[in-house]
């Protein structure tokens, strides 16, 4: 081998080495620049949170300079507490009533957007129960989840002018079995899960009462962060919200792909369930003010109404600082392209 050839080899080797080194520096450089944050969900991985999984899988978070860990929730943990304590940076937790109650008990939790625009809960009863309207709940046993969902029932009863003491309110487990066995006359369902599972089991002789028909609209799946994050790293909060809403918009425009991403993120999920769930989540998220203003919009008018009715029947001691609880400034700054339908 001639000297020149050898030098060529050495040089190309060196060049390759240098390129690799610079690539590595680049990689670690950008990794160091990416802000490590986490988002805590209110339940395990499923299509209810498709937008977040899509934003992660499609690199929207990464492009926004965020290194996001998605932490699933479960029945044993309170996502709101974890975000308020700073254990998780962001969260998809509770909804209108939950936020009001969190603030009433001084949790430093701030809602920066609302995912679901219409109340995702409904009350079901059998066709032969003799219950034809919410007014007929009087004297009947009505089951609901005591994980924050009970406040929606309280609001509905208040709006219909029924004293709570006239209704036998019982705690509902997260299985619909007792309702199937007719242990209570009315049960609570979410439109994106329990209603689907009832129908899947061939139970179609049921009727639905929706809180929105009683004049109670509560937004659910609040996107939250802590007061501290807002004060110390508002730009990170903004980037997270932009990318999350962009993820949701993409999920609704590419639903099959979004379901694929969700299925890969969880384990043991059924495609059919997740497709049905995503359809219903889309209905809920693109309704109400989202139609005109965009995904994630906070409906202050409905929040004020819910607060007033909660105070009226003692579900809330007094008014909370709504401006501090629901901070719209970030949502307002989300580029229209990322949120407008």
């Amino acid at each position: 081998m001639g000297f020149v050839m050898m030098m060529k080899h050495v040089m190309s080797g060196l060049a390759a080495g240098l390129m690799m080194a610079s690539a590595m520096i680049g990689a670690t450089g950008s990794a160091a620049a990416a802000e490590k944050v986490s988002v805590r969900l209110k339940w395990v991985a499923q299509a209810q949170f498709a937008g977040i999984y899509v934003a992660k899988a499609k690199g929207f978070y990464e492009a926004a300079g965020l290194d996001v860990t998605v932490n699933p929730g479960g029945p044993n943990i309170n996502a709101a507490t974890l975000v308020a304590s700073g254990s998780d940076t962001f969260g998809v937790v509770s909804g209108t009533e939950g936020m009001l109650n969190a603030r009433a008990s001084d949790l430093p939790l701030v809602c920066i957007a609302m995912s679901q625009q219409k109340t995702p809960y409904a009350y079901v009863t059998y066709d032969d129960s003799g219950i034809n309207s919410v007014k007929d709940f009087k004297g009947k046993s009505v089951a609901t989840w005591f994980t924050g969902t009970q406040y929606t029932l309280f609001s509905v009863l208040a709006h219909e002018g029924i004293p709570q003491s006239d209704v036998q309110i019982v705690s509902q487990p997260f299985s619909m079995q007792p309702f199937i066995d007719r242990q209570y006359q009315v049960a609570t369902v979410t439109l994106y899960n329990e209603l689907n599972t009832l129908r899947e089991q061939g139970i179609n002789n049921i009727k639905l009462f929706r809180p929105d028909d009683s004049g109670v609209t509560t937004q659910q799946d609040a996107i939250v962060t802590s007061e501290r994050m807002i004060k110390e790293k508002p730009e990170i909060v903004q980037s997270f919200l932009n990318a999350t809403l962009k993820g949701w918009k993409y999920a609704f425009q590419h639903k099959a792909e979004a379901v694929d991403i969700v299925l890969a993120a969880g384990s043991g999920l059924e495609r059919k369930h997740q497709e049905l769930m995503l359809d219903e989540i889309e209905n809920l998220m693109t309704a109400g003010v989202a139609k005109t203003e965009g995904l994630g919009a906070i409906d202050m008018a409905s929040i004020e109404k819910v607060q007033a009715s909660l105070i009226k029947f003692g579900g809330l001691k007094g008014p909370v600082d709504l401006k501090a609880t629901f901070d719209q400034s970030f949502w307002n700054k989300v580029p229209a392209d990322d949120k407008k339908l």
């Binding site: 805590r40 969900l41 339940w43 395990v44 991985a45 499923q46 932490n71 699933p72 929730g73 479960g74 029945p75 044993n76 943990i77 309170n78 507490t81 974890l82 304590s85 254990s87 997260f174 299985s175 619909m176 079995q177 199937i180 899960n193 329990e194 599972t197 899947e200 089991q201 993120a265 969880g266 384990s267 043991g268 999920l269 059924e270 369930h273």
Partner: protein, 250 residues
Amino acid sequence: MTMRGRILTSPPVTVLLVALAWLAVVPLFNIEPRYLPPLGDVYAEAVKLWPDLLAGFWRTFLETFIGFIAGALIGIGFGTAFAYVRLLERAFFPIFVALQSVPVIAFGAIVVIWFGNTILAKVVIALYLAFFPVAVNTLRGLSGVNPGRAALLSSFGASNWQSFLMLALPSAAPVIMTGLKLGISLSLAGAIVGEWFGDTVGLGVLLLQALYFEQVTRVWVLIIACGLLGALLYGALSLIERRYVWWQFD
């Protein structure tokens, strides 16, 4: 026991008998799948779920196993310390009892805040549930050492350490084994409950999802999987006991 009796009561045969009864009972009494799905359906569901089931089984096994080993070591450590230092027993034992009476759910948020959604969080819950029965049984076993034998050993000039290794530990071992067998089942329960604090893999996660989506057949698959895991762990301990701790002190 006769040979035939032994075969009839061996675990595989019992399992087979239960399976046969299941096969017969469902069509015989026309049981609705919501109450008990046909065994064939359960099998088909298990096949469908196989990769997730296998991953979940392995993950839950790891959480249980690591939590159990750590809990056993800590339990034996504390039990021994309590048996020899009465002051420690008086100071710490009531705290342990108080901790044990707090349902593990109450620690959920704390465990998640401390350990995040890592496998460690589940291991810690498994450990927390396992260590107490081990500690109590170690204490009981060591306190039950025959004083006459202890006096005899020391009259031969045995040191405290020798007497611990040669007399106290062997005579406590059967009682400690009982604690360990209690502990391993609790570890499994701890790991499964731990997965309900938020995770994506594990038998507990699959169980939670099956309950949430009302997939009764799948719930049965998971009941069997959890039972199998528990039986394997318990069986392994029994095997160790029979081979190494076969004696029984009075």
